[in-house]
Amino acid sequence: MNRVRFDAATRLHLLLGIIAVAGSILLPALLGSAYWTHNFLIVNLFVAVAVLQNMLLADAGQVSFGQGAVFGLSAFTVGIVAGLWGHSYAAGFLAGVAMAVVLGLLFALPALRVQGYYLGFVTLSAAVVFPEMLVAFNDLTNGINGITRAVPALTTPLGLGLTPIALMVMALAIAALLFHATLRATRLGRRIRVAAVSPEAAMALGINPGALRFIAFTIAATGTGLAGALYVPVLGFVSPYAFRVDLSIFFFFSVVVGGNGQLIGPVIGVWILYLVPNALLADLANYRLLGYGFVALLIMLAFPDGVVGTIEALRRRRRLRTQVTGISVDRVLAWPGARPRPPTQGQAITVRGVRKTFGSLAALDGVDLAVIPGSVHGLVGPNGSGKTTLLNVISGFIALNAGSVAINGTDTSRAPAYRVARLGVGRTFQTPRVLEEMSIWENLEIGADVKGDHSNWLLALLAPFRTEWSENRPDLLAHAQRRVLEVLRTVAGDADILLLDEPAAGLSAAERRDFARLVRFLSERLGKTVLLVEHDLALVWKVADRITVLDAGQVIAEGPPDTIAADPRVRRLFIGGADA
């Protein structure tokens, strides 16, 4: 197993976050301020919820306005089980967390169908309905009267003014922060983030985005449920009024005001939105809401990326002037090893009679293609001839209308993209799907995550750069480097078949030469099969073993480069009627 490593920014965020949480619990208790002790217990419970909301929103990309309902359901379940039914607090605690997870799973269901503000509205509506249901089922919940349930064992000071519940809240908030940081450094966390940022890239890496949404919702609901269950001993009382939609909106605001995706963002967001109105307008209860609304509005106008997000952006802008060590193609090519070329009989990719129509337009009209294992196969043709569509059909991104596709003899005609990827098919995209919010190193690791093997030769070869690349994001890389990074990512995943979609676009002459060498290396030394869609014919002539020419969804020529370049039909196709 590889040890979890945090980059410098994460360590700083964690340190400050833990200081803020621990200090805000310990200081008021030591100073003996009951008012601030109580307020900061609530603040830190909210911090725990907001940290998980941050994970859900920024890492998993799920807009949930219903976390207040999850929190409230857990608290109310504790109240019902431990208060009204007279069971122990521990029993209530378990029941509360369990109910929270159930509600979280319910939220995940619509997330399979809809995303973005649609999902936001569904969860928002759930948050509106939740307190109404607490009132409607008053036989069960005691309705608007609420439930009183003290837990004296947890609220009796142990000494120095500290109660067990204070320590539990502190532990929960710190655990939430540590959990979030650790999750990001694990395979699961990286895969959750890839699925959110780019579903296409995720599927190309063998990830089923829907499954990861479920996991993210479950994780968030569990943590939020834990916080909700601790709410009861903190307050000693639950009431439907405490869990109105405003609470859910508060959690969401906290994340965005603090800085969406910033580890310490939720801490800052909760402090600003809870403490500023409470401290400044302590005597004017009705004005707190107004203050809170204005603070949220003004911060969004002044810092669209949130408070911490704006600070981080400034820090990074300063760093952007220093260029990182480029991703050197030479270093990869210097790898002394070689892998045996696969036997050249058989076919790596077999496409038979594939048809794909969009409306009345036939993008692919009976295409046959056979790619020999270990070869570089070029796919060329004018705009709209169906090259990228064919690539999408092979990699499972587009369902075909007729015909069949097989990878190494396995039929994949109906397989979704993430299944095809798991068969060892890696691909790149016209615009590189490099994940901006991850470090350069993580961008390589998500490739290795496909098979979960982090001890492969490529990562070992590039290990000297690990520290530097872990501290930096891909926005420091020039375009050509991002291309190479995307290709290396598929190599790190040990894919046998690489589908490259217009890799040479935007490369300078020297960069193209390097890229051509890389492609030849993949085929000759690593035994990879490469299917290359490319506009840049000069590159294709140079690197391809065989070339297929598409026009209007049909194959018009197939053969080695020399034959194809001399074919009058091909010349006519690319030049127009000039020498027809």
Binding site: P382, N383, G384, T431, A478, H479, R482, E502, A505, G506, A509, R513, H535, D536, L537, A538, L539, V540, W541, K542, P561, A565, R571, F574, I575, G576, G577, A578, D579
Partner: protein, 240 residues
């Protein structure tokens, strides 16, 4: 009239244009040619304000318009007709044309404003009240040009006007562009296929990988062997 110097631009971090210099005089038709991915559309979009150039300047009658928003550039007299015959599909042909002149304000007389275009494209007059989605691709291209015509721009940029259009509809479209230029409008046409618009062009430039590689008259380029080499990627010193 239109002067471009040292223009660099790209999509996000992908550099596409690498220093383009080009100037077009009133009444002149310049054809921009080049293979797929040469940066022709990017050039037009950078001039038209849809892509912010990273370096270089675009001047319209001496006035610097580099980096302005597309709608402001149109208001200053430079009109880009996007590729793919884009019109407003749910609006009628007549309303599509009216919107082309909407920014000029007032209540212009439709007939006076659109008459010359409708004369060239009688089919549009017949379908004046039909929604634009019911037109064929070629008719939509005519509509897009009519919409641009009523804006009375001094410079017209036209991105692949012949793409996806029935062969027989291309001559009237080119004819229209020729007459339009004769009114004193500077016209830049982007095409991929060499022959399609060469006949109406005063001058053509050939782009490759974000740079202008060749410039010449129609007759000169027709003879030039290098054109074919550029299109087939056979012109490089390191080609096998």
């Amino acid at each position: 009239m239109l002067e471009i110097s040292g223009l660099h631009a790209g999509y996000g971090r992908v550099p596409v244009l690498r220093g383009i210099d080009l100037s077009v005089a009133p009444g002149e038709i310049v054809l921009v040619l080049g293979p797929n991915g040469a940066g022709k559309s990017t050039l037009l979009r950078s001039i038209g304000g849809f892509i912010k150039p990273t370096a270089g300047t675009v001047r319209l009658d001496g006035q610097d318009i580099t980096g302005l928003a597309p709608e402001e550039i149109t208001r200053r007299g430079l009109r880009l007709v996007l590729d793919g015959h884009r019109v407003f599909p749910e609006l009628s042909v007549r309303d599509n044309i009216r919107l082309g002149a909407a920014f000029r304000g007032g209540r212009p007389d439709f007939e006076a404003m659109a008459g010359p275009a409708l004369e060239m494209f009688p089919i549009l007059r017949q379908k004046l009240l039909d929604p634009a989605r019911d037109l064929s691709g070629g008719q939509q291209q005519m509509l897009a040009l009519a919409q641009a015509f009523v804006a009375q721009p001094r410079v017209l940029l036209c991105d692949e006007p012949s793409l996806g259009i029935a062969q027989m509809l291309i001559p009237p479209i080119l004819d229209f562009l020729k007459r339009w230029a004769a009114l004193g409008t500077a016209v830049v046409i982007v095409e991929q296929q060499i022959d399609s618009a060469l006949a109406v062009a005063d001058r053509a430039v050939i782009m490759e990988r974000g740079e202008i590689r060749l410039t010449g008259t129609a007759a000169e380029l027709r003879q030039d062997k290098r054109v074919q080499a550029i299109y087939l990627g056979l012109d490089e010193e390191d080609t096998p």
